[in-house]
């Protein structure tokens, strides 16, 4: 079955390529002491990447078409406000997701 073999080969190749990207820094700096610059990067990367992931989640929003990303920005505002107020992760996440699902499923901003 060449098709099955080809599919398995493709999956293997993608899996190896993905793992390569993940293991790369550990191979480079696994045995020797990383350069001093890296330890500063190490501390600064997580907060930067987390905020970039938030921005990445908004990558497909159509800012110039109705509803102009308002459901997303509005819900993010609610999630952030709720979290700053209560500091309860589960509450902020679930209330926000429920709200967003209601907003898009009932098309609340259709008047825009």
């Amino acid at each position: 079955m060449p098709d099955t073999l080809q599919m398995l080969a493709t999956i293997t190749v993608i899996a190896l390529a993905t793992f390569a990207t993940r293991v790369l820094p550990f191979l480079c700096f696994g045995s020797r002491e990383p350069p001093a610059m890296l330890s500063t990067i190490e501390k600064n990367l997580p907060p930067m990447i987390l905020l970039l992931l938030v921005i990445y989640c908004l990558k497909d929003v159509q800012w110039f078409l109705a509803p102009y990303g308002i459901p997303e920005l509005f819900t993010i505002g609610i999630v952030a406000g709720l979290h700053l107020w209560k500091r309860n992760a589960m509450l902020s996440i679930f209330a926000g997701t429920g709200l967003y699902m209601a907003l898009v499923q009932f098309n609340v901003f259709s008047f825009l």
Partner: protein, 271 residues
């Protein structure tokens, strides 16, 4: 119970607590990975592939965007080199995740290869933010978080490929749970660290890549851009401190980690 038995009982108890704690930490990822995994499974099913392929891809590749891209490339009849290049470029951001986990993973033991394999956006976000419960083993806690997330993704894919066409659930908007998770984790990072500049770098790099580049390339480019901004600030913003650090290093005083500390402090004063 003998002393040995008590000890074993206690570790088992502690282990269960650690697992439950990891379970609680990963609930948002569960809610995000099930619909996203289902979307992938559904896509594979729609493209005419047996569910076993959706299962294998989620188990062995385990990269959300990468797998969606793979379906598109399969449909386009791409060759193996195209798969390799596209996958490397799309997932290169993972290299930056590892870069900031070198220290955290340095004493992690035999689960390290698996933790590296299972490093997705969401797992990275959890590992860099979640506190290991007091008295618990870091290696076990990280392993539980990684394995649970992996399991959710595989379960979602199989569910989508097997039942996707039968179920008629309206999950529209449910993937927003991951956006909300990242928002909450960003706020937690903001409170947990006294450094503010990474957030400025993120807004600058994120906005620039969102405007200038296509959505698919935006994340990798913004991470590279942001890292360059961090390095530039480090290099040129505190040249004097760096110079002093350099002299101290040449004299052999202090390790790489110790020398990084004063640089960190000076950046805090500025903010």
């Amino acid at each position: 119970m003998t002393e040995k038995e008590v000890k074993r009982y206690e570790t088992r108890e502690g282990d269960r607590d650690l697992f439950l704690s990891a379970l609680k930490t990963t609930v948002p990822v569960f809610l995000g990975y099930i619909p996203l995994g289902m979307a992938f499974g559904f896509l594979m099913d729609g493209a005419g592939y047996h569910w076993i392929y959706a299962f294998l891809m989620s188990l062995l590749i385990y990269a959300g965007a990468g797998q969606f891209l793979a379906v598109a490339l399969l449909a386009a009849g791409a060759g193996l080199p195209e798969f390799v290049i596209a996958t490397l470029l799309l997932n290169l951001r993972h290299a930056f995740y590892g870069l900031s986990l070198l220290d955290k993973f340095s004493d992690i033991g035999k689960v390290k290869p698996y933790l590296i394999f299972a490093l997705t956006d969401e797992t990275y976000a959890l590992l860099t933010t979640a506190e290991v419960p007091a008295g618990g083993s870091k290696a076990r806690f990280y392993f539980y978080i990684s394995a649970l997330d992996h399991f959710y993704w595989v379960a979602g894919s199989v569910l989508g490929a097997g039942l996707g066409s039968l179920l008629n659930l309206n999950l529209e908007g449910m993937a927003f749970v991951l956006t909300a998770l990242f928002v909450v984790l960003t706020i937690e990072q903001y409170f947990n660290s006294s450094i503010r500049f990474p957030f400025v770098a993120a807004v600058g790099a994120g906005a620039a890549s969102l405007i200038l580049f296509s959505p698919e390339n935006m994340l990798l480019i913004s991470i590279i851009l942001g890292t360059l901004i961090l390095i530039a600030r480090e290099k040129f913003g505190q040249r004097d401190t760096q110079l002093n650090e350099g002299i101290r290093q040449v004299k052999g005083i202090g390790q790489a980690h110790a020398t990084a500390q004063p640089v960190q402090d000076s950046s805090q004063e500025e903010n």
